[in-house]
Amino acid sequence: MLKFPIYLDYSATTPVDPRVAAKMIPWLTEQFGNPASRSHAYGWDAEKAVEEARAQVAALVGADAKEIIWTSGATESNNLAIKGAARFYEGKGKHIVTVKTEHKAVLDTFRELEREGFEATYLDVQENGLIDLDVLRAALRPDTVLVSVMFVNNEIGVIQPIAEIGEICREKGIVFHVDAAQATGKVDIDLGALKVDLMSFSAHKTYGPKGIGALYVRRKPRVRLEAQMHGGGHERGLRSGTLATHQIVGMGEAFRIAREEMAAENVRIRALRDRLLNGLTSIEATYVNGDLEHRVPHNLNISFAYVEGESLIMAIKDVAVSSGSACTSASLEPSYVLRALGRNDELAHSSIRFTIGRFTTEEEIDYTVELLRSKIGKLRELSPLWEMVQEGVDLDTVQWAAH
């Protein structure tokens, strides 16, 4: 039995795993204590639960529990890491480096630091979405204090060479931050081996609740941050605010499940993704965006030439997916990530991101392929561009009346 719309947008958010939800509820209604209360059992129990969750998060990523700071999500973690490190180390230099395809939570934080007088470099990526290490090396300067590169891209799912970047940064004494919101449960992360100083996590991309995240802050060698949120001195003074016990317990349980099940789950999900890939690429004039090899198993980003993304989304309303076209916003700008890959605007407008997850079935994938095949056929019948291409017109030679 298919349930509509079919959810293929797991990189936007995931449902909370029922096991996670069950674990959270008592911490709302019965064991509601403030983990900072030191004078009674309500507080002690909550604190114990928070520390267990901290250990579960640390275990998934090969860190020590003392290196995990709770935040409200990856956006806050990115802000705390980037602003916190840049401001703490600004005496050493005011140059910071990131990549053009980062999430807005990183890019916009960089923009804010630029307004404060930092100088930022935004690295280009290669056509496959991966950064070129030589380009990174060339961008580093004696006054560079921070490099921020995402582990897994949210739109195209490519995995950046984090280990290699870590070596380069460590050698030069530059703080290295990684936004790993899209990586947990998808790729193995071992902070014991990776030379990463700061790493951002989110619960809701990995079957945990929204509104909770964490920041890894390395202890050896120690990385220091300037706090952004001031108050009761929670989280070793790095992030004040009463801890949300139920959310934290949820994130811990979600990461525990991820650690135990990710190996088997990713095999199943990769098979579904490949089934989707084979089905969709059998449609004429389709282009996969981003490297297929250095990629998380659950992501497929594909452009259907001569069909506009928003009308395609409308046509396939039985499936919940994301479009690379931002036509709904006033800017009419297509995805900046796809443009950074060198995709032309038209293919960027025509892209769809499918992200598969824990509850996706083979039946859902097969339905999706057939739906896309029929709707793309229909929209191409409507498309003057498709008609021109069928007549042998090279669209690049046409003088368009831009508007």
Partner: protein, 127 residues
């Protein structure tokens, strides 16, 4: 984004989709927009000897509102003289389809398509 019922109706059942033969008598074509901007409209009109638009066809690459706007104008121009067709305003299209502010450009493009088709007709027949 929520679409109006009229947009959905035109999108699901677009009127007058297609193309006329290039050499058909009285056919003129207006092509506006650009793939890079996310919408291209092709509007064709077939004008009788009396200057009345007998038939119209369209093809559109673009969002649902762009498809609906062009579908709607194929209905509206039929039976009008070319000069009457030029009086169709984007505001009327936007109002008929209840387009939200971010989609007003779709109605402007549809108006431009009419103007481009009529200009093509005049170029061919008044030269």
């Amino acid at each position: 984004m929520a679409y109006s019922e009229k947009v959905l109706d035109h999108y699901e059942n677009p009127r007058n989709v297609g193309s006329f033969g290039k050499d058909e008598e009285g056919v003129a074509t207006g092509m506006v927009g650009a793939p890079a901007c996310g919408d291209v409209m092709k509007l064709q009109i077939k004008v009788g000897k009396d200057g009345v638009i007998e038939d119209a066809k369209f093809k559109t690459y673009g969002c649902g509102s762009a498809i609906a706007s062009s579908s709607l104008v194929t209905e509206w121009v039929k039976g009008k003289t070319i000069n009457q067709a030029l009086e169709i305003k984007n505001t009327e299209i936007a109002e008929e389809l209840a387009l939200p502010p971010v989609k007003i450009h779709c109605s402007i493009l549809a108006e431009d398509a009419i103007k481009a088709a009529v200009a093509d007709y005049k170029k061919k027949h008044e030269a």
